[in-house]
Every structure is written in C-alpha cells, then in structure tokens.
C-alpha cells in the first residue's frame, strides 16, 4: 500500500469530520427519516393553487426488464414526491447461491463470479420502465 499525499488525506478526513462535528448528521437524520425532503416530480409542480394530489402516498411496486432479466422496484411517494426507490428484485445480480452451486472450474472461467465490480458509473436507464410502472400503480384516478 503506497503512502498518500498528506494534504489530500487531511482534506478528506476534515470533510468527513465536518459532517459529524457537533453531531451534524446524527441529529438531523432522525428528522430527515421521518420527513424526507425530496424531489419535485417535474410535471406535477402544483404552483400556488393547491390542487388534488396526483399520486397516492405509500410504496408501490413496478416491474421492468433489462438485458439480464426482470427487475422490480419499490417506489415510495409522499405528497406527490418520490422519496425512495429501492430495487426489490435485481435481475442483474447473481445471488450467492447461484455461484456456490457452480463447479469450481466454471467459477474460475466466469468473470461474473467477481461479484463486486468497479466500472464507469452506469446510469439508472435500465430502471426507468420499472419506476414508471410503479408510478402508474400509484396514480389517483
């Protein structure tokens, strides 16, 4: 392990320290978890007049597919804002069981067995359909 330039290490540790100084993060987290600030859904911008909400509050499931198979997302909405998107079933991942069951030589041939991969940041494009599908379930009629 190479030693690192001190200045940059100090910058990093100072930055992390600034978040935790005086409990900046921990004190705020509780409130944030209960009342998440979130994204405006662009087309739903209500402006000044309070109109009927477009979406129901709650968690809604949507499915879509990408090149490895089906994916399912759980989209949580509150006051017409998306507060959370969890991938509840992720076709792109090999489960540990899949890998364990393969013979050793197959594992060595398949680079897919390296479960954690660093690569250029991939976008959420593959999840757009699933998110839209979940939003459709949440629509108020």
């Amino acid at each position: 392990m190479a030693k690192m330039d001190k200045k940059w290490v100090i910058l990093c540790s100072t930055a992390i320290g600034a978040i935790y100084a005086a409990g900046y993060f921990s004190t705020e987290t509780q409130a944030a978890l209960q009342n998440p600030v979130s994204y405006n859904h662009g087309s739903l911008e209500t402006g000044r007049s309070q109109i009927k909400s477009n979406y129901k509050n709650g968690t809604f499931y949507g499915t879509g597919s990408n090149r490895r198979g089906l994916i399912q997302v759980a989209v949580t909405l509150k006051n017409d804002k998306i507060t959370d998107v969890e991938i509840s079933d992720f076709g792109m991942h090999y489960s540990e069981k899949d890998v364990v069951d393969l013979p050793q030589e197959v594992i060595q041939l398949q680079s897919a067995q390296v479960k954690n991969v660093s690569g250029a940041t991939y976008s959420t494009q593959a999840f757009k359909d699933a998110v839209q599908n979940a939003l459709a379930q949440a629509l108020n009629s």
């Binding site: 392990m1 290490v9 990093c12 978040i19 405006n40 662009g42 897919a112 976008s123 757009k128």
Partner: protein, 297 residues
C-alpha cells in the same frame, strides 16, 4: 450477508454488510443511515433539482451564501482538484454538460436549461472557510459529478465502520470495508471496457476504495461521439483512455482523481497520480493496461 439496493444520484447504490456477528436489526439500521447519507449529499449537490442546495445557492450572484457541509466540503474538494489539474477538472462545467444533453433528472424526467453563459471557470467560485459561505462572481452551473458520489461513499462507509465487512458500491465506484464473509480481502473486478459481462483485472481491497472513470457509459443523448467526461477547454470529451481506475483510502480522492486522470493527457495523468501517491489502473483504447504507483498484486 445483508444487502439492499437503491437509486441515488442517477445510479444504483448497493450496500452489503457481513452480519455474522451482529443482530440483523442493527445492520438494517446502519444500512438505512448509509442510504440517508446519499440522500443528503444528493439534495445538497445535485444540479438536476432546482430545489437542491447548490441550485438555490447559485441563484444569488456576488452574494456570500451560507451553505451546509454537505455542499461546502465537496465543493472545496472540487476546487482543490481544479487547482491541481489547472482547471482540467472544473466544477463550473455544469452548463456545458447541460448543453450536451446531460440535463435530465433521472426520476422525474424534468430537463433544465439554465440561463447562464458558458464562460465561467472555477476561479469564479470563492469559498470562505471561516464563515462557510459560497460566493460566485457570475451566473454558473456547478457540477459536482466528480466528487459528490465519492464523498457520499466515504460517509456511508463511516456509518458502517463497526461491521467486520461491508461494501458500498455506487454504480461501479466502491469502498470495500474490512473483510468479506470468508475473512478474506474483498475481491473486486475492474470492468472490461468492451465486454460488459467481463472483468479485465482483479484487485483485492480492504478498507480501500476504487473508483473508475470510463468513456463506455453515459454517452450524450445529442451526439454519439460525446460522453460525460468533458474537457472544459475544448468542450469535447477526452478519448485517450477508455478506463481509469484509482485506488485510495478515500473514495473522495479515488472518484476525483480517476476523473482527473481520464481528462488529462496520458503523461500528465500518470504524473498526477504518482504525485498524490495513488494507485491507478489505466486502460487505453487498444485495451493495454497500465498500472501506476503502488504495488498491486
């Protein structure tokens, strides 16, 4: 192993925790806090939401605006990196990115065209360390794409530090904490730039981050020859490397310097990494792999 995957910052954030010696509810709570960090950094730093802290703060020109550490720290880091790369990695690239079609919020689909000129540089951003304020000389769009994710990864890792083993993987930039479920260093693949399902190299990490910048994801929706790593001087994307991975104790550094190495000319990128004492795995257009710094296995 407990694992959860959510979307933040237009990418997939995957958190895995080895839970052998811990109650599951404790691990679940720590994972929730780690995701909460991503939410907070995104709300502070996203240029895709008009109500993010950075977009609100930059509406005030030539005024000192007090900002939270979730914005101040990534911004300060981005300015330091801009300095050391002579502006090759410049956080005022936001408007150029918008104009290349990187201007859509990944969840709402909302698009932005900020009414600012393209001529700003990082020297138009002034931070006051004492007062924790941001001052901008002229209208500009701040893009923290090269630092915010790394910072969030480090903060998330901090939330998980009591566990013997964990991974925070944000779309291919990751921190590997402790040891894997078998008590070994985490085995991490470096993605093959051409074959999505393959890795080109494998490294072993423990309490280290690896971040990769590459030209093979995130093409411009407007121009096929443009990807998301744009040279602020030419306003074109860099094409000397196809992939630059940097390994560091901090994802903050690995994220910023992998992007910097990608944008700089080959010799300067290598020199920068060795100056900062970072290890890099750089891959050129002919898929030749160069290892810089450190003694990687």
């Amino acid at each position: 192993m407990m694992r959860k995957t959510k979307l933040f910052m237009d990418t997939v954030v995957d958190i895995q925790v080895v839970v052998t010696n811990h109650p599951r509810n404790k691990a679940a709570a720590a994972i929730d806090r780690a995701f909460e960090v991503f939410r907070k950094v995104e709300q502070a730093c996203s240029r895709f939401s008009q109500d993010s802290e950075v977009m609100q703060a930059t509406r005030q020109i030539q005024t000192a605006v007090k900002i939270s550490p979730f914005l101040f720290e990534p911004l300060r880091f981005a300015l330091e990196v801009a300095e050391v790369t002579d502006g090759m990695l410049d956080p005022t690239i936001g408007k150029v990115m918008e104009d290349h079609g990187f201007n859509q919020h990944y969840l709402t689909g909302e698009t932005f065209h900020s009414p600012v000129s393209e001529s700003a540089s990082y020297q138009d951003i002034i931070l006051d360390d004492e007062r924790r304020t941001l001052f901008i000389n002229k209208p500009l769009v701040i893009d923290l794409g090269a630092v915010a994710k790394g910072f969030a990864i480090d903060l998330a890792a901090h939330e998980l530090k009591d566990f013997e083993g964990f991974i925070v993987n944000a779309g291919g930039d990751l921190f590997a904490g402790g040891l894997d479920g078998q008590g070994r260093k985490w085995k991490i693949g470096i993605q093959h730039p051409m074959h999505k399902d393959q890795v080109i190299q494998t490294i072993e990490l423990s309490n280290e981050a690896v971040c990769t910048s590459g030209s093979y994801e995130r093409k411009s929706p407007l121009r096929a020859d443009v990807h998301h790593l744009i040279n602020p001087n030419t306003k074109c994307s860099s094409n000397e490397w196809t992939s630059c991975s940097v390994i560091s104790r901090y994802a903050f550094m690995a994220d910023a310097f992998s992007t910097a190495a990608f944008l700089l000319p080959i010799d300067r990128g290598e020199a920068l990494l060795s100056n900062v004492n970072l290890m890099g795995i750089l891959i050129d257009r002919d898929l030749k792999v160069y290892r810089v710094g450190g003694d990687l296995i």
